[in-house]
Symmetry: C2
Subunit: 184 residues, 2 copies
């Protein structure tokens, strides 16, 4: 979809997701956000009455939905869980390269403010659990019992999170491509 | 060592390490830092001429050295790499609980500002590579060939990073304790 046809609300959400994942929640000012989204200040509080924290949660949910789709499409034609994980890791490596190798996890970068913001933490937990549930469903469909499916999916989540952190520090998507090999 | 006998410089470094890992580099203001360290403003620029970024790197190095010691002590009496990793994961779980389950990785929380700060990224890469080298040395000592030692240590690093992120989102140290089980 062409960026010009997005609603102001959608532009705000995408700009927030893109900026927070590079510089973190506190590293992005409201003015930068509005300029990036080409949106007037009034529009922010119209769509997100609580302002920046509301927008951050919406941005994290949007990015999380993209990740759910990425997991689904990676496992769609997989013959085994390992196949699906390999496809997912290659897709993530491509995304990482497209983003210039600077992006962090859109949830981790956005929704951690410590004990001052239990609301953010609870939102992050819910979104992460959603990714793990999506992977576990795929594993069950491919023949694993529920416990084993959950174990495999949780391991995949942990490897992708940790791998992304190392890839970002090294600015190298190879870390992501090699994750499945680390498990053999 | 009693906190009262620490030098002002050491107090600044420890306060920075403790505050950044909870709220991130941008989430902590200089005034909060100085108050937490009980240090006058002049002392910050005396010890860290470039101010907050300098202090952040010193804090990350300090926290990284603690991690290097934790890896070393975990593998000191280990009979196998898996034993050492299990000990390390249990020690990290204890630390996580002591910190109230809010801390992030001291490097990831502190040294990522995107393309605006390549210096931070390079420092993070160097520190992470140090952790991986420490683990690989342990694996070699326990009998692995260099390539396999490196592979095991990189996998441990990735599992610990990703596991810590999930533990933080869930506020549960069990994720860390169960990491070795995920690899069996």
């Amino acid at each position: 979809m062409n960026k010009r046809v997005l609603s102001t609300k959608d532009r705000l959400i995408r700009s927030a997701a893109n900026l927070f994942r590079v510089r973190g929640y506190h590293g992005v000012g409201l003015n930068d956000l509005l300029a990036h989204a080409n949106a007037p200040k009034g529009s922010l509080y119209h769509h997100f009455p609580d302002g920046k924290p509301d927008l951050a949660k919406a941005a994290a949910v949007w990015a999380s939905d993209e990740m759910l789709r990425l997991i689904a499409v990676s496992f769609e034609e997989a013959k085994t869980f390992e196949d699906g994980m390999t496809t997912l890791c290659h897709k993530l490596a491509k995304l990482f390269d497209l983003a210039g190798r600077w992006d962090g996890c859109p949830i981790s970068s956005t929704l951690f403010e410590g004990p001052d913001n239990e609301d953010f933490r609870a939102c992050a937990e819910q979104l992460f659990n959603g990714w793990i549930a999506e992977g576990a469903e795929a594993a069950e469909r491919l023949g694993d019992a529920p416990d084993e499916a959950r174990r495999k999916s949780e391991r995949m989540f942990i490897m992708v999170q940790g791998g992304w952190t190392l890839a970002r520090a090294r600015r190298s998507s190879d870390v992501l491509r090699e994750l499945p090999r680390l498990l053999t």
